[in-house]
């Protein structure tokens, strides 16, 4: 017989938990839900745009009544649970409805706080929490003129903005002299106030409400100093209090909320709790992102999987007032032991402040330009050492070399502005998908609209759109990001398990780490294949079925299903005989396009798959090996002519590049790996946008790392200077091996270095001489089995079946 689960509170956190649970264990429970409100589950966050007339109540439904029916869930709307009988494991609603449970989930949310001043019960005084409140205000705006909003926090300002858009004359009353003091410091709050005043809102700062006046309806608000302003609607938005009355009455341990442990369990093991009603490690959260994380953990335990833990969240905030860009996270005020880095341009309406302590970001406030909010937030949550990028930090991630593509300012963009250049998706489409399909995460938006799903260069813009539409940070990936939906383990955890527990095959890894799927997916299998290859060189049997087609067929697939062939041209240097051989091959196989690539090589495009092995055989005989233009592996080493010919050349950059390519070709890396060598600082080989770039100077060779010329241009960081060609090779081998061992699959050196910090790389590759030689040693060891030309092998008949049809009819 199925177990019984009862949920009290049909709100965002509770229902999200059910959704997660249904994904994990669809048939485990008979579920009953009690909700005090007379609706299905809706997106409370979007009440603000409903009030502002930008959306309707129908637009913000997350799960309508059909969803409950489809999932076999009994829903009691409009029924408030007033009693929990823990001995009999039963809940009782005010109308007498009862339900018994094996497990009970409390998600009763919060109650808006009402200042108990005289007159607070007068008709016309309202809070801002649910659909009822919003409908009340929408009605009031039709017949009344002036509104007072008490409270200049997030909710108060969103209410004020909405009422003003409805045509009311609105005054915001705030106790302190800074608006949104829990999210903003004084300078940014002043900018915000000025901008809202520009839109016609009025403010009364440092005003303490003494009474609401009126006989049978609100007529005004009186303050401690005796002054009075007229009002026919008063909105109290001064804060919320976790709603734990029911839990407390049932004898559960409560402090400022229902106290739960890291599994979201209350002091009664049969009862779990999530959402705003909860107190976890002393904190009660009031934003959706942490609540969703709680829901995920709670579902894991309700499904009796028993391994997830909620360890608290760092939150960030946005204000959902159209046209205002504002971001705030962490400890943005700082203290005596922290420092502030500030950028201020009041004329342009821009203010940015970062609070730094021990070289880590502790908090951030951004006003007017929030494009880098999610980047700072990531740096903050990952506790990244920012000492290397400190000077450039305030100018944003884009300043770390990027010029990216396209625009940066989201608020100013028209709905028709194209956000995703790869898939042609515009702003209006994305915003519409977020609201009508109830999307919450970047992944959701990618799946539904394809925006940011290809090259990813518009990810920052899409995150901003999510944030400005939904208001909070839940668009961002959680701090601990699992490899894919087959597992909850991260890339790093999986790699550690592979080496610590001597896991030697993909099935072993999946069994040991309890993969949820029988044979993984197209995301985790290629990653696991690389991690195993890197951990057990020579021993691990490569699994071609876990490789993307390009790496399996050793050629790049084209849009029409044909392939391209790029032979290795060492250091970009060739000769007449090689060119003749390439020309012959192009003739023999009717290659439609022959193109010089951006990597100093020749691309033969439009080759039929069946022709590949024969063509490779011909190229092999002419002395060519695979160029790995298709691999997460060493690509090209670009060179310039250098001191052999060039009048400015200081060293033989061509020979250096060829030596490097001869040493490193064939190695598999987390993502593609490109190198270049220039013969002088004029840098004609563009070495400073490569994963590893070498620039010759009179006294030796400068080594540069972490460059990227692709989606997001990033200039390299200077690693060190060395004197001899041998040293260049040693450092190259060590750097590549460190990246191979510690970079995450599909993470290029640029984001990898930004994640671990340049200092760390310097310490491992430059400062620690013995460590460097060990890294280089491991690199050479793995090269022993890596430098077997895959083309020659296949020309000899290996993987024959891959290249020919199983059967031909007609």
């Amino acid at each position: 017989m199925k177990r019984k689960l009862v949920l009290v509170g049909n709100g965002m956190a509770g229902v999200r938990t059910l959704e997660e649970l249904l994904k994990l264990a669809p048939d485990m429970y008979d579920i009953t839900v009690f909700g005090a409100e007379p609706y299905g589950n809706y997106n409370r966050i979007l009440l603000s745009p409903v009030l502002a007339g930008e959306k309707t109540v129908d637009d913000i439904m997350l799960n309508d009544l059909r969803w409950y029916a489809d999932n076999g869930i009994i829903l009691h709307t409009g029924k408030t649970v007033e009693q929990i009988n823990r001995a009999r494991r039963e809940v009782v609603a005010t109308d007498g409805t009862t339900a018994s449970y094996d497990y009970l989930l409390l998600a009763t949310g919060s109650n808006p706080f009402i200042i108990p001043v005289p007159g607070h019960q007068l008709p016309g005084v309202i809070t801002f929490r649910d659909i009822h409140d919003v409908n009340f205000m929408l009605d009031a705006a039709k017949t009344h003129k002036s509104a007072v909003v008490i409270g200049g926090g997030l909710l108060g300002l969103e209410a004020a903005y909405g009422l003003q858009k409805l045509g009311m004359d609105v005054t915001v009353v705030h106790l302190l002299d800074t608006l949104m003091e829990r999210q903003l410091d004084k300078p940014s709050a002043d900018l915000l106030r000025r901008s809202l005043e520009g839109r016609g809102l009025k403010f009364l700062m440092q005003a303490q409400t003494d009474a609401i006046v009126g006989d049978d309806h609100v007529a005004g608000v009186r303050f401690k100093d005796g002054s009075e302003i007229p009002a026919d609607l008063v909105v109290m938005a001064v804060g919320i209090r976790p709603n734990f009355a029911l839990a407390k009455q049932a004898g559960l341990h409560c402090e400022r909320g229902i106290v739960v442990n890291d599994t979201m369990q209350t002091y009664d093991p049969r009862i779990y709790a999530v959402g705003e009603c909860v107190q976890h490690r002393g904190i009660a959260y009031g934003l959706v992102a942490p609540l969703f994380e709680q829901g995920k953990v709670c579902a894991n335990h309700l499904a009796h999987l028993g391994y997830a833990r909620y360890e608290g969240s760092v939150t960030s905030t946005k204000l959902k007032v159209t046209g205002i860009d504002l971001f705030s996270a962490g400890d943005f005020n700082g203290d005596a032991t922290s420092e502030d880095i500030i950028y201020k341009d009041p004329g342009a309406g821009i203010y940015k402040k970062l609070v730094i302590k021990d070289n880590r970001i502790k908090g951030a406030v951004l006003y007017g330009d929030t494009i880098d909010g999610s980047w700072y937030f990531d740096l903050m949550r990952n506790e990244t050492d920012i000492s290397d990028i400190r000077e450039d930090l305030l100018f944003g991630q884009s300043h770390l070399g990027d010029s990216g593509h396209g625009e940066n300012r989201i608020a100013a963009m028209a709905d028709s502005a194209e956000i995703c250049g790869c898939n042609g998706v515009c702003k209006g489409t994305i915003v519409n998908a977020i609201t009508t399909n109830g999307l919450f995460t970047l992944e959701d938006v990618r799946a539904h609209t394809k925006a940011s799903a290809s090259c990813g260069s518009c990810t920052g813009l899409v995150e901003q759109l999510l944030a400005s539409t939904l208001g909070s940070d839940y668009s961002q990936t959680p701090k601990k990001k699992s490899m894919c939906s087959c597992t909850d383990f991260t890339h790093d955890e999986t790699r550690k398990a592979i080496t610590d527990s001597s896991l030697k095959t993909i099935p072993q890894v999946m069994e040991f780490l309890e993969w949820r799927t029988p044979d993984g997916c197209h995301q985790c299998r290629p990653a696991l294949n690389f991690y195993l290859l890197c951990a057990w060189p020579g021993e691990y049997q490569d699994d071609s079925k876990s490789r993307f087609i390009n790496e399996r067929a050793h050629a790049n697939i084209q849009k029409d299903g044909t392939y391209s062939v790029v032979p290795r041209i060492w250091g970009g240097v060739t000769n007449a005989a090689e060119l003749r051989a390439i020309a012959d091959v192009a003739d023999k196989y009717n290659v439609p396009t022959v193109k010089i690539t951006g990597g100093q090589r020749i691309d033969l495009l439009g080759v039929k798959k069946e022709d590949l092995p024969k063509m490779w055989g011909d190229l092999s005989r002419a002395g060519f090996v695979s160029g790995h233009a298709y691999g997460k592996s060493l690509r090209t080493v670009k060179t310039c002519v250098g001191s052999e010919w060039c009048r400015f050349g200081t060293q033989d950059s061509t020979t250096m590049g060829i030596k490097m390519e001869r040493m490193a070709w064939g190695s598999w890396t987390p993502h593609k790996f490109k190198m270049a060598v220039s013969g002088c600082p004029r840098n004609c080989a563009e070495a400073t946008i490569k994963d590893l770039g070498v620039v010759a100077v009179d006294s030796g060779w400068e080594l540069h790392v972490g460059g990227n010329g692709g989606v997001k241009i990033r200039a390299t960081d200077f690693l060190c200077k060395v004197e001899t060609m041998e040293q260049v090779l040693d450092y190259t081998a060590a750097f590549m091996q460190l990246y191979r061992e510690e970079g995450r699959y599909l993470e290029r050196t640029a984001p990898w270095i930004e994640r671990v910090g340049l200092s760390y790389v310097k310490q491992r590759v430059v400062d620690d001489a013995a460590g460097r030689m060990q890294l280089a040693g491991r690199f050479h060891e793995s090269q022993k089995t890596a430098q077997i030309d895959p083309w020659a092998e296949r020309a000899e008949g290996m993987d024959h079946a891959e290249f020919v049809p199983m059967k031909k009819f007609g």
């Binding site: 799946a447 539904h448 290809s454 799927t517 029988p518 044979d519 993984g520 997916c521 197209h522 299998r525 290629p526 079925k545 876990s546 490789r547 993307f548 087609i549 067929a553 697939i557 849009k559 299903g561 079946a801 049809p805 199983m806 059967k807 031909k808 009819f809 007609g810």
Partner: protein, 118 residues
């Protein structure tokens, strides 16, 4: 009229892999899962015609090699939120041999007999 045609041994198709059957009316991709279930789909992704036979196979799905749509092998349907369907073809395995049911017009019998003799 549709008929069953033998296309080779099941072991000719790698586990978690696929082979192509070439017909007068285009390629058909034949897939083999880890548990030796065989499926056949027209080798054309409903998105932009990518060759599904070249994708990574997992569970009873294949990821298209061009833009990563995931297609359900059983039905040929793209996994939501993507929408579209790759035509599926009946297949059966008897005594280790795989048979594919296709319209006979698709198969030029004269040529087929040549291949079969070879």
């Amino acid at each position: 009229m549709s008929e069953w045609f033998e296309i080779g041994a099941m072991t000719d198709i790698p586990r978690l892999g696929s082979r192509v059957v070439r017909t007068a009316h285009g390629d058909i991709a034949v897939f083999r899962t880890a548990t030796d279930t065989i499926f056949a789909l027209t080798d054309k992704c409903p998105h932009k015609g990518g060759p599904l036979s070249q994708g990574i196979v997992f569970g009873e799905y294949v990821a298209c090699p061009l833009h990563n749509w995931v297609i359900e092998l059983e039905s040929g349907e793209a996994v939501a939120p993507d929408k579209g369907c790759a035509h599926r073809h009946p297949v059966k395995v008897e005594d280790g041999l795989v048979f594919l049911k296709v319209r006979s017009a698709v198969v030029n019998i004269a040529d087929y007999s040549v291949v079969a003799q070879a």
